[in-house]
Structure formats: C-alpha cells, structure tokens
C-alpha cells in the first residue's frame, strides 16, 4: 500500500484490475484503493508478472503493507517457501479474493459484520465507508443518490454495492435527485477533514514558513486568453489557470530551490515540475494532485491536463502518482474569492504559490494612471531550504513570465 501523502495511514482495496499471471509494466494501473480523498488508481513501480494477491478486496490495509507479489522481469518463479508463505497468509484471512464485477443476486450469505453499511456498524466511527465498486460510486454520485441510504449490503461479492444495485435504487426513486444530493455525507467529510488536519498540523509543526506577496498585472495574460478563445470551441478554450501553471513551471527552471521534497533533513530538488493544483471538493475539503512535467507541456496540453484532472477529481477518482508526486502546489482562489491567499505548505514540499482573485484596479504605467486587471500572488516557502531573497526573485520571475503570455 503506497503512501499517497503524509496524511494517509491506510487504504481500502476496492478492486484489482489485473489477475495473477498478468504482465505488468511500470506505470500500469493495477488496483483501485479507497482513501479519504476518494478512489485512487494504484500504479505499479516495476515491470514483471503479478504472482499472487496478498491483499483482499474490502480490507483496509496500512501503508507499507505488501498488496501483491510481483516477480520482476528475469526473476525466477518464487521458491516453494515463498509460495507457502503466500498461501499461509491467504488462509489466515477469512475469505478468498472475489472479483469485483457486478454479480446478480447470489445467495444472500453475506455476513452482516462484513458490510459497512449504516445499520450494521456502530454509528459515528470515523473512516467507516460504504463498500461500493468505483463504477457504482460514480453512478450514485451522478444521480445524487445518498450512499448512506443503503441499509442492506449490495448483491456483489461480500456485500459490495455494485452498479446494478445503484441502478436499481435510482429506478426505484424517480425524480428525486435534488433532495438527497450530498454524496459527501458527514462521515466522508470528517475523513477528509482528518486528512487535511494531519497534513497541515505536520506542516505548521515542522516547516518554518516565510511569506512574500506581490501585486501583479494580469491584463496581458487575460487579454491573451480572451483573444485565443475568441475563435475556439468550448472544448479547446484556455483558462488563466493554465497560464499560472506554465509561468510557475518556467520560473522553477530558474529557481529550483522551490521545487522538490524535504525528506530526512535534506532537500531533494526535482528536475521536473510536477505542479500540484489545489482543487476544491464539493461538500468539503480539497486535494492538490499533480500535473506532471508541466515544464515540458505546451499551454494547450497543460489546459487539457487540468480539465482532465478536475473532471476526475470531481468524479472522485485519480491516480496514486498524482497524489504522491507534486513538487510544489498552486492554490488559486479563482474569480469568486478575495485578494490574497496565505498558503500552508503541503509536506514534504517546500513551497506553495497562492493566487488571489483578479480585479480591475488603478495602476500606474509609464506615468499614466490606467485601469488594469490586477492580482496578488503570494509565496509560502520553507526557510530550511530558501531565503526571502530568492523567494522574491522567484515571485518576480512568475510575474515576468505572465507579462509575455505568448511565450509560455
């Protein structure tokens, strides 16, 4: 079970996407794990063949626990001892791994203690989840179905709620999407809040933050976006956010002391800019998954990546590397916020860029007072790694790149 951030202690396996005997390659998505942040697609770190499952669907698995045995390319078939070990491990667990596909109304032999539904567990226990397949969760979310309304286990293996269960419930409840809409129920919220609390407490405890702010003229960037979008269909339009990401990526090229991870008392700069984008989750909380290699993507590719990421975050499903890889975070208040954001760094990162809501303000340019589109940008940075001097140069560099949007 990979750690997908300093706030994660465990994850619940909801789906295997490969079978024993299948080839796997680095970066392949092999499983889906449910965490406080939603359903996360787990990527494999090496090439090889999946030998055995060690983790069981529906089980909550602590970070660091092996989930499967993967025989590396060129490695021998595991020894008899290893096989026995795996077998022993499997027998200590109550049930065998069952496929997560929807299964129609098999014998209702599901033990109540195996389900995580409203009626069969003590109420108010944090971290408790309805067990549901990702497809079913998505469908329930789309239709505004309250997952907590499932009093009985679903018909899938081990009482997992399947797509068929959700469809049946939607059919049985016509025209009521608005009412029971908040899928992020109280339990889900507290899980997310706990995760944020853990990460931010660690940040404030360990990271000696310093803060800098700068007022920048976004008129050229905004005009560039308007002009670019004028003849484009909606699916190809840009937002200012894409320009922010690119400008930060370019500035990081000059100031690498803001891009990387601080672990084991040492700062490890990263060559690539995996920029975490703070994305609000409806119903409470936020996540900041990475747009990978922002420095090498053109503006349109960055924009497509943002669209894709936001859609998947809204649908509650993203990839493990997107959560563990960010090397810096951008948090933008968008067009309905306030002037300034003061960031809290997400460990083990060492910097966060905050972007306030742009507004039209008086500005002096070449000795003349003119109305311009103005925004405050801020930097929260780790004093163990950098100083205010570099921080100031970094913020100015971001501003300068935004003055030449056509070069981004």
């Amino acid at each position: 079970m990979p750690s997908l951030g300093p706030d994660m202690e465990a994850g619940t396996l909801v789906e295997w996407l490969i079978k024993p005997g299948d080839d796997v390659h680095r970066g392949d998505i092999i499983a889906v794990v449910e965490t406080h942040k939603g359903a996360i697609e787990i990527e494999v770190f090496e090439d090889g063949v999946l030998e055995t499952y060690l983790a069981e669907i529906g089980k909550t698995i602590p970070v660091g626990t092996p989930m499967a045995v993967i025989r590396g390319a060129g490695q021998d078939v595991p020894s008899r001892d290893q096989q026995l070990l795996a077998a022993a491990d499997a027998t200590t667990q109550k049930k065998e791994v069952a496929p997560a596909e929807p299964v129609h109304k098999t014998a209702p032999d599901t033990k109540p203690d195996q389900t995580v539904s409203g009626s069969s567990l003590p109420s108010g226990k944090p971290g408790m989840r309805v067990r549901i397949t990702p497809a079913a969760r998505r469908r329930a979310k789309e239709s505004g179905l309250d997952l907590m309304s499932f009093e009985n286990p679903g018909f899938g293996p081990e009482g997992v709620i399947t797509l068929a269960d959700v469809e049946a419930r939607i059919d049985a409840k016509p025209g009521a999407p608005g009412a029971a809409a908040n899928v992020a129920g109280p339990m889900e919220k507290s899980g997310m809040r706990k995760a944020i609390a853990a990460a931010m407490s660690r940040s404030k405890r360990e990271i000696p933050h310093y803060y800098l702010g700068h007022t920048i003229d976004l008129s050229k960037a905004a005009a560039f976006v308007t002009q670019t979008n004028a003849n484009r269909p909606p699916a190809e339009r840009l937002l200012l956010g894409a320009l922010y990401l690119k400008a930060v990526a370019r500035a990081l090229g000059k100031y690498p002391e803001f891009n990387g991870h601080f672990t084991g008392d040492i700062f490890h700069p990263n060559a690539a800019a995996h920029i975490g984008m703070a994305i609000r989750i409806r119903g409470g909380g936020l996540v900041a998954p990475a747009i990978h290699n922002t420095e090498s993507l053109d503006l349109d590719s960055v924009m497509s990546a943002i669209r894709d990421l936001v859609s998947r975050v809204r649908a509650g499903r993203f990839r493990s590397s997107e959560l563990s890889d960010p090397t810096i975070t951008i948090s933008s208040l968008g067009d309905r916020g306030v002037d300034t954001l003061y960031g809290v760094i997400y460990p083990p990162q060492v910097a966060l860029i905050g972007i306030g809501t742009p507004s039209t303000r008086p500005w002096v340019q070449d000795g003349v007072l003119v109305p311009r589109q103005i925004a405050n940008i801020s930097l929260a940075a780790d004093h163990r790694v950098s100083d205010g001097h570099q921080g100031a140069l970094f913020l100015r560099a971001i501003s300068n790149f935004l003055q030449a949007p056509e070069t981004l």
């Binding site: 505004g144 999407p177 809409a181 899928v183 484009r232 699916a235 339009r237 936001v310 968008g334 309905r336």
Partner: protein, 83 residues
Amino acid sequence: MNTIEIEAVLKEEIHRIAPDIDVTTIDRDANLQEEFDIDSMDFLHLVTALSSRFNIDMPQADYPRMMTYNAMTAYLNEHAWSH
C-alpha cells in the same frame, strides 16, 4: 427541440456539475456561478457540454449573456431552436 426540452437538458448538465444544489431553490436571476457555487472550470465544463448537446458555438464573447440561469435558458432558446 422546444423550451421545456431545452431547460431539461440545462438542468441535467448543471446537476452533473453541482449535484448538491437543488435547482428549485436558486434565484434564477442571480449569478449562475454564485447560485450553483461553481468556478470558472465548472462553467467551462457546462458550456462545453451544452455546446455539444445543442450543437451550437456558444462563443466566449457571449458569456455575458449566460450569467444567470434565466439568461442561459433564454440564450439556449434563441440559439438551439434552429437545430
């Protein structure tokens, strides 16, 4: 497509983006983004979806005519009729 059908599509697409907001409780003449608590990315997703559903352009220059629920309905009625 008639007015009722057009509004049904609008409701469906808004619901996809803001499933927690009941359309019957909003002020239809107030700012759409405020009423549904959606950001510029959500709004772009909405326009992209509507543009594709109705096969109309919905240029960015027309955004000021889509700022409220009622304005959006009127805009769609005006442009989607021809299809």
